[in-house]
Symmetry: C2
Subunit: 165 residues, 2 copies
DNA sequence: CACAATTAAATTGCGCACAACTAAATGGCG
DNA sequence: CGCCATTTAGTTGTGCGCAATTTAATTGTG
């Protein structure tokens, strides 16, 4: 009775909506995990995880950064970064040092090993890109779409926050 | 063409590659988390998480399912599903029953409460869709792209498995 | 100067994802 | 029939993501 049974090109019953929705949210969820899986394989050589790789990319690009700035680049908070950075430190790739100027702040610095790892990481993008089967242009387009989606969703999360309606 | 460097303008140094890579993988990572964040807000009313919502969608659409089938629909293994289903059971939304026919299998069944929750869930897709700011067609296109990406990555993960290169 | 508000990290707690392993039931094959 | 490989769930351990809280340093204000 409440069961869907779409009448031809019917005006989307409630059941249809739930099915459509599953496809949308599920697709992104699955894609993200699939991507993660390929990175896991490729990064195994380097001995780091995918989120750790993102941190290293940020450091290679911008140089030493305080945890705060790192979090802004990656959209991650200290709850996620603190333990992750400890693991990178244990692996000998970074050091964490309290800033002398502002004792609240912790500077994340690449060690020599961390800098050296970059040489072995340069092969990663090509392997990943090859895995997608997409060409540069397709990837660029998808990225643009996703960034657009992210900024929309971030904005929506603010207005949707409980108590703000 | 081992190196698909766009020689026409930017020579794409190794640094450029890493920067590009950061943008690509980061975009997907960020989009996935942003999506998750909006779902977290919207699903708070229903008292379930995003992955739990995916399980409920599968059950609403296909009816009772063994854990195995559920995992195939969602691409999740028992390591993820077992504790998740326990929480759904504790919330009174599903029951888990050993199949009489095959004692290895566990049937996941919707409770009355689980069925009833569907009525309150039908509003979710519209709220999510509104949050994206995309129209139906844009979403469909993005979904297609993501599904394509996922199947490519899944295939690649198999051939990239350690020991296969 | 004293004191409240703000800021930066870290910590705690919960849930998800996944690899690796265990336990139990089933099916096949000699 | 008896034994072994396979199948299905569950368990364990590690790491990520995030909300909420805590601690310490800094800033702002009277």
């Amino acid at each position: 009775m409440t069961t869907p049974a779409p009448t031809d090109q019917a005006p989307a019953s409630q059941g249809d909506w739930l099915r459509l929705d599953q496809q949308i949210c599920f697709s992104l969820h699955a894609a993200s995990r699939a991507f993660n899986g390929v990175y896991r394989v490729v990064l195994k050589d380097l001995g780091i995880t995918y989120p750790q790789y993102l941190v290293m990319l940020a450091l290679w690009e911008h140089g030493d950064l305080p945890v705060k700035k790192l979090g802004e680049h990656l959209r991650l908070d200290s709850g996620t970064l603190s333990p992750l950075l400890k693991r990178l430190e244990a692996a000998g790739l970074v050091r964490r040092e309290r800033s002398a100027r502002d004792e609240r702040s912790v500077e994340v610095r690449l060690t020599e090993q961390g800098v050296a790892l970059r040489e072995r990481a340069v092969q990663v993008p090509r392997r990943i890109t090859a895995s997608t089967g997409f060409d540069i242009e397709e990837i660029r387009e998808l990225r643009t779409r996703l960034d657009q989606l992210t900024s929309m969703l971030d904005a929506a999360a603010l207005t949707e926050t409980p108590g703000c309606e």
